[in-house]
């Protein structure tokens, strides 16, 4: 089998732009997923019975539906519900973020529950409100403790952005498919794409791991 890297070199700007989209979609869905996840995780832990059950419905739903289905539904079905179309990137970020949020929420909840009960009591004894205690004392420790798990979710967010190719988000995998189809060089292009995903995710995983080893003591009450 001969290997020809010319198609990659020729379409380099096109693929670089696709990589940019992958990064943008990953980071944006991560931010959205974390905002949803922290809010849902905190409310499920401290918000009382009703919120626990209601938000539990969201968490369980998202964990029971394949991400692919969520993305397809967001892009093809949801616009019919609201009567106007949404662009693929927005739908992709929303679908990925809402899906990820459920997993972040459960991770945050586990982290919050793992902080010693007496830490909350010490904060309350200073005169803090529960909200102040959660924001300044409990949540920061929970985030430190859950850093390895959150790091895995960060890597998953980058990898899952490739699934958004099915709704035509012009991210790396989607654009690679286009170039591969035009040039008839699937081996070179898909191998390159695989390598890029690895080079993107591996350092992130390692960096989170190293960061955790440096800050782990900050979460050990």
């Amino acid at each position: 089998m001969d290997v020809n890297l010319q198609p990659i070199i020729d379409s380099w700007p096109f693929l670089a732009k696709a990589l940019g989209t992958t990064l943008y979609v990953s980071v944006a869905s991560m931010v959205l997923g974390f905002m949803i996840g922290v809010a849902v995780g905190v409310l499920r832990t401290y918000g009382g019975r009703v919120l626990y059950v209601l938000l539990g419905f969201y968490v369980d739903t998202m964990r029971a539906i394949p991400l692919l289905v969520v993305l397809v539904w967001t892009f093809f079905a949801f616009p019919l519900l609201i009567g106007r179309s949404i662009d693929a990137v927005t739908a992709g970020i929303a679908g990925l973020g809402i899906h990820l949020g459920a997993y972040v929420a459960e991770t945050i909840r586990a982290g919050l529950t793992s902080v010693r009960r007496n830490q909350m009591q010490a904060a309350l004894a200073l005169g803090m409100s529960r909200f102040q205690a959660i924001r300044t004392i409990i949540l920061p420790q929970a985030l430190v403790r859950m850093l390895p798990a959150l790091g895995s979710l960060l890597v998953i967010a980058i990898k899952d952005s490739a699934i958004a190719s099915v709704i035509a988000v012009p991210e790396l995998l989607r654009q690679t498919q286009i170039v591969a189809g035009k040039t008839f060089r699937p081996f070179e292009l898909y191998t390159a794409a695989m390598l890029v995903y690895f080079l993107l995710c591996y350092p992130v995983a390692r960096a989170v791991d190293r960061l955790y080893r440096r800050v782990a003591h900050l979460g050990s009450s």
Binding site: A122, A123, L124, G127, M128, Q132, T136, Q141, L218, S221
Partner: protein, 263 residues
């Protein structure tokens, strides 16, 4: 307000955990400037009483009145009471994600709305008072137990409380670091801080307390001056408890020399 007025009173306080009667009708009052030590066997309700005083635990019946306000009458009262009462825990409960300095400033900045710079000034003064100003920038994990507990005392003092609650402050410490914590507490007592101390340190109770209350099975079974309790216990159960600590009542009043050990 008269110095002899009680700052904190417990009136017929009851608290039940499942089938266990943790507090079974406790009546006790603490006057301004007074150091009151609660002693008694483990599980006799001493810590529960402390935790009810600042509403970390909710009582079933009875009243707790602090500076004229009934604790627990409203959410606002509870927070007001907690601001005015410092609490020191058995396991320190420093905030591990914050530096020593931030541990001491977070109360004033978050709860009192104090500016960071002013709070840091206050915190540094308190850290030097407990002998730890050079540790301001480190995290609690780098401190020994005794140092952590001294920071915890500074953290509580930063709120400028009217009353300090100590919940077995030396029970989790290595024997060699107990002294440094008791010394800080002695200094506070000498400065006139009102203190309610749950402790198993009988020497401390004997030398520093103005008033000692003996707990057993959720009740105060005896109270009085340290001399009365330690040397002339009227209640057999008190004598029994003290004898199990290797305390036989025959020891004389502390001499000036033995007082110096803690000061």
């Amino acid at each position: 307000m008269n110095k002899a007025d009680p700052i904190l009173t417990f009136e017929a306080v009851h608290k039940r955990y499942g089938s266990v009667m943790a507090l079974d009708g406790v009546n006790l009052s603490i006057r301004r400037g007074e150091v009151v030590c609660l002693i008694g066997p483990s599980g006799s309700g001493k810590s529960t009483l402390l935790r009810c005083a600042n509403a970390l635990d909710v009582l079933d019946s009875g009243r707790i009145v602090f500076e004229g306000n009934e604790v627990r009458s409203s959410e606002a009262t509870v927070r007001h009471v907690r601001r005015r009462m410092g609490m020191v825990f058995q396991n320190f409960e420093l905030f591990p994600h914050l530096t020593v300095l931030r541990n001491v400033t977070i109360g004033p900045t978050t709860v009192l709305g104090m500016r960071r710079a002013a709070a840091e000034g206050r915190a540094m003064a308190l850290l030097s008072k407990v002998g730890l100003s050079e540790k301001a920038a480190v995290y609690p994990s780098a401190l020994s137990g005794g140092q952590q507990q001294r920071v915890a005392i500074a953290r509580a003092l930063a709120m400028e409380p009217a009353l300090m609650l100590f919940d077995e402050p030396t029970s989790a410490l290595d024997p060699e670091t107990i002294g440094e914590v008791l010394s800080v507490m002695k200094v506070l007592a000498d400065e006139g801080m009102t203190m309610l101390v749950v402790t198993h340190e009988m020497d401390f109770a004997r030398r520093v307390a103005d008033h000692v209350a003996v707990f057993d099975k959720g009740r105060v079974i005896e109270e009085g001056s340290p001399k009365e309790v330690f040397e002339n216990a009227m209640v057999p159960r008190t004598r029994d408890f003290l004898s199990h600590l290797g305390w036989h009542g025959e020891t004389t009043i502390p001499t000036a020399a033995s007082t110096r050990e803690v000061s």
